[in-house]
Symmetry: C2
């Protein structure tokens, strides 16, 4: 296939990560999610553990940091900058699937990027987190909603754009259709885009 | 196929109408766009011409009408109410594709409804309106943007919801993939949803 980066943005509990992994397998290309952390660590100079702790977390506002007298950018911002460089380098180097990390925003305007959004009703996502993700929570519904808020805040802080707006993506899929059906739709979309 | 209503919401110039028509043909089910007008006229008691003039137009606010001393609901609201009844009746009666008219909102919460959103970059839509729709305008870009605003205002007024939010739809497609490719994706989605 022609060199293409497929970005996967996803609601928490929608199965977006596993869908991305299966799309990469079906197309025979690399998959980056947690795999990005070691590249980001190398780029930023932080340890992998430190990068993991600050991964996809929104920082306090810049104003807050100025008020607190910080002389340097907060760690989350530094990590986002290093991560953006890693994502842009990957896009120039190889075809791959990248999950999360505002990759759609980081690569905006570049050729050969296909942006996918995976979502699902709250009930389905709550069930998936409870039964398949192995997460422990007292109230799964509010746990999922809290993760949603955190993801939206991260995107809106760094990407300065609206999360989940259909026009931002080439294809948005409700994963209630089933993981394998969603994978097939995305693979068909990529192949059609490439004129195959 | 099992009884299913497919609603198509679309950005102006995205080719959503023709995509909907081709989806209906591929599935061998009815297609309703302008075809709804005569049913709405019959339901509301207005003439077809009057319904057409007020079709998919946002009304002034209810407050404005109260201020103006109107005793009855404005025509656009009356037409929307009649149209909602027609759409609900269709959903109970037959499988079909319905374009626009907040049908996704009108049928929300009902079984066997699949909501599709068709969008495309502004440049593609401007080109399509100029070259294929046979519309005349001095400035096609601002003409398309004006139609967008009118469509968003209509949806937000009657549906009281966010237009173009990916989570509202089962599938959102950028029609730059090509009309026939978009049709195929939608038909595949419908068949997968029906477990075929």
């Amino acid at each position: 296939m022609k060199k293409t980066v497929i970005t996967i943005s996803r609601e928490y509990g929608s199965g977006g990560r596993i869908i991305g992994k299966k799309v990469a397998e079906a197309l025979g290309i690399s998959f980056y999610d947690g795999e990005l952390l070691s590249l980001v660590a190398k780029e930023s100079g932080y340890t992998v553990d430190f990068v993991r702790q600050n991964d996809q977390k929104k920082t306090q506002s810049l104003l807050y940091h100025l008020y607190m007298g910080s002389q340097i950018l907060p760690a989350s911002d530094m990590i986002f900058i290093a991560q953006s460089k890693v994502i842009k380098d990957l896009q120039e180097k190889e075809s791959c699937v990248i999950v999360g990390r505002c990759a759609d925003y980081v690569l905006r305007g570049r050729d050969s990027v296909i942006n996918i959004f995976i979502h699902a009703p709250l009930l389905s996502r709550t069930e998936r987190v409870k039964n398949e993700y192995g997460e422990k929570a007292d109230n799964y519904k509010s746990y999922v909603q809290k993760q949603d808020k955190s993801r939206i805040a991260y995107y809106n802080y760094f990407a300065d754009d609206a999360w989940g707006k259909a026009q931002t993506y080439d294809l948005s899929v409700n994963s209630d259709i089933g993981i394998d059906n969603a994978v097939k739709l995305i693979v068909d979309y990529v192949r059609a885009k490439q004129g195959e």
